[in-house]
């Protein structure tokens, strides 16, 4: 996995002059400090007011829990932001307790396949066979012939997905590493895969845990490679089946694969034939009777989305020819024993070993597995990637109309740190654009942000958050179930519409009245006064910043839960 030798394409002198310019500009802004490191000046206010602190809690996390504002003020906003940027320094014990019992979260894909997916699949097949053998059963009238055991196995399989969805919401609501969770959500969405596409679901747990989570504040290049080699992505965007056309393949006998260094998390699949070293079977090993399923040529799907959505952006300067060349480079990047939950493997039999030209860079013939890594090097260090990633991050943290000045500085930081995400995010969340009045409540919450922030605001206790997954479905944002590779939109126009708005209001009412099963907000018990319940949210979550219309309606509430419902469904709470 050592690719440092080829990773860094030579930087142009332009970068240097940009650095100087940035220094010059920052020295012109009053009050800015110039530090020895080429870090852009921080605009974090020294004595932040409540509104500013709530702004930070809304952007670096999923909104304020009553008490957060006071805590951040005591700590100092500057220090809070710095701590959020280094989540490893935050103990976060609460979440560990919350996640106990979600047993499948720690299993590797092989274990999940053996213990959950394969038994369920076999049970399903048996049930089907038994149903078919029933003489009375017609195609339209299938009696349920599943045995209790078969039903149980199928339910167990669903457990893998519910555990995952459960942890996503629990972490967003209860983790103290809020920025980390925001970024897990952001990067998963950036490198979106869809649970509904075949085996993707089997690999989802490992994808988020092993490919996304460790890198969300790390190096973009590492994140990119982790996703490129993840079975979830290989499956979702079809690269696992992409092969050189027959004529262009590497001339390698069809008996053994080059084996990647073993990965302890992903044990090997079945041993091969007697006398052979352990083999990792790929789609190229399909037996003659399944010959018609064996890949016979290129599949462009991953190559195109890799450039359009993961790195350069659609206007990043690639052509259809580049798509084809990149697809050729990635031939042979496939999955070992996919049904058994195997990991990434390079299968030279599927690889097109000819020369490729990607974005003007020549990739020499005979590079094998390395071809794909070279493409990732080219893409990760391309200026379009820095710009594209910076734009998306600024849109997430600042505004639907990302300020050009900040995008430029964030992209510059991306280039000069060779894609250090932590430093790019730091540049954004400490910038004057981030703290500018125009940025305040400039973002409409996505359904996920809305639901998580509402549960946080009410300090609700969740034992089972699956009803919240249903809420998210009604709001158009079910977790892990975004079908297109673009991921969910991060702009208000995608989320503000009549139906969704009414659904948000209804959720606010249901949550505060204790009608969301498994989630209990203290206010739903009816104890306490209306005034206390109202002040808790108005002052401590919304920094007292509400319209007179909203305050008037809340003043007329007849019970505490109603007051809180009216606040959570209010226009002000829809924004962050």
């Amino acid at each position: 996995m050592n690719h440092s030798a080829v990773r860094h394409i030579s930087r142009t002198p332009l970068v240097l002059s940009h650095c100087l310019l940035a220094l010059l500009v920052s020295s012109l802004i009053p009050g800015s400090r110039i530090t020895a490191a080429p870090r852009s000046s921080s605009a974090v206010p020294a004595n932040a007011d409540d509104k500013t602190i709530v702004h930070v809690l809304n952007r670096l996390g999923f909104g304020a829990v009553p008490g957060d504002v006071e805590r951040v003020r005591r700590m100092g906003l500057d220090k809070f932001i710095d701590q959020q940027l280094r989540p490893e320094t935050i103990p976060d014990e609460r979440i560990t307790a919350r996640l106990t019992g979600l047993d499948t979260l720690t299993l590797n894909s092989h274990e999940l396949a053996e213990d959950y997916f394969m038994p369920a699949q076999m049970a399903q097949r048996r049930a089907k066979q038994e149903a078919a053998s029933q003489p009375s059963a017609s195609a339209t009238d299938k009696p349920d012939t599943r045995t209790p055991e078969q039903t149980q196995l199928m339910q167990a399989q669903r457990q893998v997905f519910t555990d995952l969805a459960q942890q996503k919401i629990l972490r967003a609501v209860y983790s103290d590493r809020q920025l980390n969770e925001v970024l897990v959500d952001f990067w998963f969405n950036h490198f979106n895969v869809f649970a509904g596409k075949g085996l993707t679901r089997n690999y989802l747990t490992a994808y988020e845990r092993d490919a996304i989570r460790p890198h969300v504040l790390g190096r973009f290049r590492d994140l990119l490679e982790a996703t490129a080699k993840s079975p979830a992505m290989l499956f979702y965007l079809d690269n696992w089946q992409s092969a050189a056309p027959e004529g262009a393949r590497t001339a390698i006998p069809n008996t053994r694969n080059r084996v990647s260094p073993p990965n302890p998390r992903r044990p090997f699949g079945r041993p091969g034939q007697i006398g052979m070293p352990p083999r990792q079977r790929t789609v190229a090993d399909l037996p003659p009777k399944a010959q018609n399923k064996r890949p016979r040529g290129l599949n462009e799907n991953y190559a195109r989305e890799l450039m359009e959505l993961h790195t350069l952006g659609v206007d990043g300067g690639y052509t259809q020819q580049d798509v084809q060349e990149v697809a050729r480079a990635f031939t042979g990047w496939t999955i070992a024993n996919p049904r058994q939950g195997g990991g990434f493997v390079f299968d030279p039999r599927m690889h097109d070993d000819g020369e490729k030209i990607v974005l003007g860079h020549k990739i020499k013939a005979g590079g094998g597995e390395h071809d794909g890594e070279e493409v990732l090097d080219i893409l990760a260090s391309h200026p379009s990637t820095a710009h594209f990633v910076a734009t998306k991050l600024v849109r997430r943290f600042v505004s639907d109309q990302p300020p050009q000045s900040l995008v430029d500085r964030a992209a510059e930081r991306f280039r000069e740190t060779k894609g250090d995400i932590r430093e790019v995010v730091r540049t954004i969340v400490t910038s004057r654009e981030f703290f500018a009045p125009e940025a305040y409540r400039a973002k409409v919450k996505t359904p996920f942000e809305f639901v998580a922030s509402a549960v946080r605001a009410t300090e609700a206790d969740s034992v089972n958050v699956m009803p919240l997954v249903q809420t998210l479905r009604e709001l158009g944002m079910p977790p892990y179930q975004c079908q297109p590779p673009t991921g969910y939109a991060d702009r208000a126009d995608a989320w503000v519409n009549t139906g969704a708005l009414l659904n948000r209001m209804n959720f606010a009412v249901a949550l505060t009245e204790g009608r969301v099963r498994g989630v209990r907000a203290p206010v739903s018990t009816g104890s306490g006064s209306i005034d206390a319940a109202r002040d808790e949210i108005v002052d401590r979550v919304l920094a007292g910043d509400l319209s007179s219309a909203t305050l008037e309606t809340v003043a007329k509430a007849s019970r505490p839960s109603q007051a809180v419902a009216l606040l959570l469904g209010s226009p002000e709470f829809q924004r962050r």
Partner: protein
């Protein structure tokens, strides 16, 4: 005039088999004009393989390019294409639509698409929904610009509705448009205090300085009030129509419900997803076939359910681009260019595949690989807006575009 034309051109047998009530044949012209024309748009997101949806079985190159995916020519197999005109045929799973084609209530435009070359789903969908190919800065959708260009005196909150959890780009813009997931769920559920909760939220959003939330809130509450008065309640489709039990079928069922409730629906939008078949697309059976089955069953149910109302209705299908002529290495198809659109309804001059066919031989293809585009998709849109919805000047709806061709399907 419209009803007379339909009366003249349609064979009675086809109408009966689809459940068109005889009443519509006797309807007077005056009654027809008093009712609002309806456009139902269906977006096949993910880029449907138009060459397997509307099969050019008369092309030898089609069979050369698709050794495992081609649909057999009529008569060549049990699962062959359903012949339309001796050259084009329907995918076998679209067979239910053949009755509509024969009754001249369904037209097809083939080799239709965007002048822009993009093979990005996202960009191409955006271009199609804004109807400004190549221009990313367009903020409103073409359907919303239509609503704006033809302001309706008696416009109701239900003039434009997407039966979807999100409002599609095509309907975004200055004019109000609703997004509704489930009609039955559309409203405030405040337990014993629904009225109080609803009026509280209503005044909050009315008082909001936030213009986006302010106007969306107003649209929502106007619609809620109207829906309450319409009292939609339980709905049983007419004429024995059976919608598929899919999100798409559910959306169409609710569109029919709104059409029949006379709540002022003029433009409806439904989504049909999952058309991006890079792997194992299948031919007569398989992934594409299953999606087409859902599409055909939904469309047939909608037409049957709407019965004689179909004389005021046009259904238009679209997809962001077509797929490559040659199948890829995984028995699927990669992103291409030209595609096919279907137009169904009483006012349609159907029974014909419109558009100039460019051929599928390598030298006839776009960039050597895709079906070339001979009809700008905006020509089709413009003809619908003009010919069906009756807007005389379509230029504000399609800025910078002058249609070179009138296809004549309306």
């Amino acid at each position: 005039m419209i009803s007379r034309r339909i009366f003249l051109k349609n064979g009675g047998l086809a109408l009966v088999s689809l459940g068109f009530a005889p009443a519509f044949l006797a309807r007077t012209v005056a009654a027809a004009d008093a009712r609002r024309r309806v456009l139902i748009t269906i977006f096949q997101r993910g880029a449907v393989d138009g060459l397997n949806m509307i099969v050019p079985f008369g092309e030898r190159a089609y069979y050369t390019a698709r050794p495992t995916l081609a649909i057999a020519a009529p008569g060549r197999s049990e699962e062959a294409a359903v012949d339309l005109d001796g050259f084009f045929g329907l995918h076998p799973r679209l067979a239910p639509l053949k009755t509509l084609f024969d009754a001249r209530q369904m037209a097809i435009v083939h080799a239709c698409g965007s002048p822009d070359d993009t093979r990005s789903h996202f960009d191409a969908q955006d271009y199609m929904e804004t109807a400004t190919p190549g221009v990313k800065s367009t903020e409103d959708g073409w359907l919303n610009r239509y609503l704006h260009a033809r302001e309706h005196q008696a416009a109701t909150p239900f003039r434009a509705v997407a039966l979807a959890p999100q409002l599609p780009r095509a309907l975004q813009g200055l004019e109000p448009a609703l997004a509704i997931g489930q009609i039955s769920q559309f409203g405030i559920r405040g337990g014993g205090a629904t009225d109080m909760v609803q009026s509280s939220f209503e005044s909050q959003y009315a008082g909001a300085a936030d213009s986006v939330l302010h106007s969306t809130g107003r649209e929502a509450f106007d619609a809620v009030r109207m829906l309450k008065n319409a009292d939609l309640g339980q709905y049983t489709p007419a004429n024995g129509a059976e919608y598929p039990r899919s999100a798409f079928g559910e959306a169409l069922r609710q569109i029919a419900q709104l059409v029949k409730a006379d709540v002022g629906l003029e433009v409806a939008f439904a989504e049909s997803g999952n058309w991006d078949h890079h792997v194992n697309e299948g031919a007569a059976v398989g992934l594409l076939a299953n999606r087409l089955d859902d599409l055909a069953r939904g469309l047939t149910a909608l037409v049957r359910d709407l019965g004689d109302r179909m004389q005021d209705v046009v259904i238009l299908t679209m997809s962001e681009f077509g797929r490559a002529v040659v199948e890829n290495g995984n028995r699927g198809t990669d992103h291409g260019h030209g595609n096919a659109m279907m137009i169904i309804g009483g006012p349609v001059r159907g029974g014909k595949v419109y558009g100039r066919w460019p051929g599928l031989a390598p030298e006839q293809r776009h960039e050597g690989r895709d079906l070339a585009v001979t009809t700008d998709f905006r020509s089709v849109f413009a003809e619908v807006v003009h010919g069906h919805l009756g807007l005389t000047d379509t230029r504000p709806v399609f800025p910078g575009f002058t249609s070179q061709t009138t296809l004549g399907f309306l």
